[in-house]
């Protein structure tokens, strides 16, 4: 049951991410990213981290993606033009973009090879390690990570002010 859920969520995640990167219409990209975030949230639940899963949905899907959606709607840009040339030229022609594509491919292969070397198994929940609860998260968050917590709140305040100032129309 776990395995089927994992492969289902992983498949949705990868397909949605590839489509996000590949879609021409930014509105569709945002919508597909929301789908991929939901699948990722499901993976977090499978990994025994319901708190992270819910925070992912609340903050990422519920707030950040709404922000993206509003910006896409308000800017109302037309869909991106397709690059010129036939399919072969588009895929294998020279240019910095295609070099970037090759680099990404090399990076992916490198990562896969590096990870293949370490082969470990995840402990199941019935191995004696108790699944951490939200209480444990809270205790650690406010003891060891207390400074980071407060600093993050200042960061958000700074980001809010910065975003408002940057997007403001110039006073004529």
């Amino acid at each position: 049951m776990d395995a089927i859920s994992f492969w289902a969520f992983a498949a949705i995640l990868v397909i949605a991410s590839v489509l996000v990167v590949g879609q021409r219409n930014p509105m569709h990209s945002v919508f597909l990213l929301i789908v991929s975030f939901a699948a990722l949230s499901g993976l977090y639940v499978l990994l025994g981290a319901p708190f992270a899963a819910m925070i992912q949905v609340i903050v990422y899907v519920g707030a950040i993606m709404v922000l993206f959606l509003f910006v896409v709607m308000l800017l109302n840009t037309p869909t991106e033009e397709a690059p010129a040339g036939g399919p072969i030229r588009r895929m294998f022609g020279a240019g910095p973009r295609h070099f970037g594509a090759v680099l990404s491919g090399v990076f992916a292969v490198e990562l896969a090879l590096a990870l293949r070397a370490a082969s470990t198994t995840l402990p199941g929940t019935d191995r004696g390690t108790p699944t951490p609860t939200v209480y444990d998260i809270g205790v650690r968050l406010f003891h060891e990570y207390g400074f980071a917590f407060e600093a993050t709140s200042v960061l958000i305040l700074v980001a809010m002010v910065g975003a408002i100032v940057l997007a403001r129309r110039e006073a004529r």
Binding site: M27, H28, F31, I34, P50, F51, M54, I55, V57, I58, V61, G62, A63, M65, V66, L69, F70, M73, T133, V134
Partner: protein, 346 residues
């Protein structure tokens, strides 16, 4: 064991089916209730032709909606246009999955040990409800965008801005209750509300958090885009806001989503503030969900009453109220609750 499937699994599946059906029936009852209550408030008859006392009116409404023509404006984004009502309805139903509606029961001895009466029982239940109601914003904003019409776009933007603004006060009123209960699970919060003070005042959080309850209901009404916060759907100003261009089943899905959202807000208010399924006199075991239903319908009646009594807020008044009054009130409520928990050990 029945056909190799355990009894627990069968019961769980049945409970999921029952919850789903109950939500749909609630939506149908709400359609009727809304029109009858509106009629009583406005001193006229409501529907009375279809069936005895008009009780078959929801059925007639649903049949009418199903048989209408499905229209789509030219230039509308097909995928998003049809995905939006599906998303709205799905989010509305999904939020009810984690709401417990009855005490632990063995279903009159059918099962060996008692099970929780809820479609799913997670220990971060309150966060799940908050998360899914933030997903409900997407149905609205995508509907507004995909309709390729200015009324829809304006209505969608306004409606979603309103929903995300009131989510803050909504979440903060949750936070105060979580502080008092010490648990994120809805079942845990309801179980804390058992018992009485001085023998007759029930241990509900309503009495410990009166401001919190008011904030929660106000934010809930704004979240579901109901009067007096329904400017984005106002017939006089924006035709019908984000669902202007929808007809037939797509419109029915939005309609359904709105009523099920109302039911979710009422159910969560019942669980958090009104003691869930604990009632003044104990019912026979296995029937506590009757109290739950009574309380939910009381809050729904209050919802409908508010719609037909109060005038509508203008959009800027609505946003000002949400940010400048409700949010500070919710923060104040949280601070006072936190102080009380620390210093008085509640």
């Amino acid at each position: 064991m029945l056909f190799g499937i355990s009894r627990e699994l069968i019961v769980h599946l049945v409970i999921i089916g029952v919850v789903f059906l109950a939500l749909q029936i609630t939506a149908a009852i709400l359609v009727y209730m809304e029109r009858k209550v509106a009629a009583v408030i406005q001193e006229r008859y409501g529907p009375y032709l279809v069936g005895p006392k008009g009780l078959m009116q929801p059925l007639a409404d649903i049949l009418k909606l199903i048989m209408k023509e499905e229209l789509r404006p030219k230039g509308a984004d097909v995928v998003l246009f049809y995905a939006a009502p599906i998303l709205s309805a799905t989010a509305a139903f999904a939020a009810f999955a984690v709401i417990p509606f009855g005490a632990d029961t063995t279903l009159f001895g059918f099962l060996d040990h008692p099970i929780h009466l809820a479609a799913a029982d997670v220990n971060v239940g309150l966060l799940v409800i908050f998360a899914i109601s933030s997903m409900g914003v997407y149905g609205v904003v995508l509907a507004g965008w995909a309709s390729n019409s200015k009324y829809s776009l304006l209505g969608g933007l306004r409606s979603s801005a309103q929903m995300i603004s009131y989510e803050l006060a909504y979440g903060l009123s949750f936070a105060a209750v979580i502080l008092l209960a010490g648990s994120l699970s809805l079942r845990g919060i309801v179980e804390q509300q058992d018992g009485y003070w001085f023998g007759f005042i029930p241990h509900w959080y309503l009495f410990l958090q009166p401001l919190g309850f008011l904030i929660y209901l106000t934010a809930g009404v704004a979240e579901t885009n109901r009067a007096p916060f329904d400017f984005p759907e106002a017939e006089q100003e924006l035709v019908a806001g984000y669902h202007t261009e929808y007809s037939s089943m797509s419109f029915a899905l939005f309609f359904l989503a709105e009523y099920v959202n109302m039911a979710t807000v009422a159910a969560v208010a019942t669980d958090l503030f009104l003691g869930g399924w604990h009632g003044p006199f104990p019912l026979p075991p296995g029937f506590e969900w009757i109290w739950f239903l009574v309380k939910v319908f009381a809050i729904l009646f209050f919802y409908i009453w508010m719609r037909w009594t109060l005038p509508r807020y203008r959009y800027d008044q609505l946003m000002e109220f949400g940010w400048k009054w409700l949010l500070p009130a919710a923060v104040l409520n949280l601070l006072v609750t936190a102080g009380a928990v620390i210093y008085m050990g509640w």
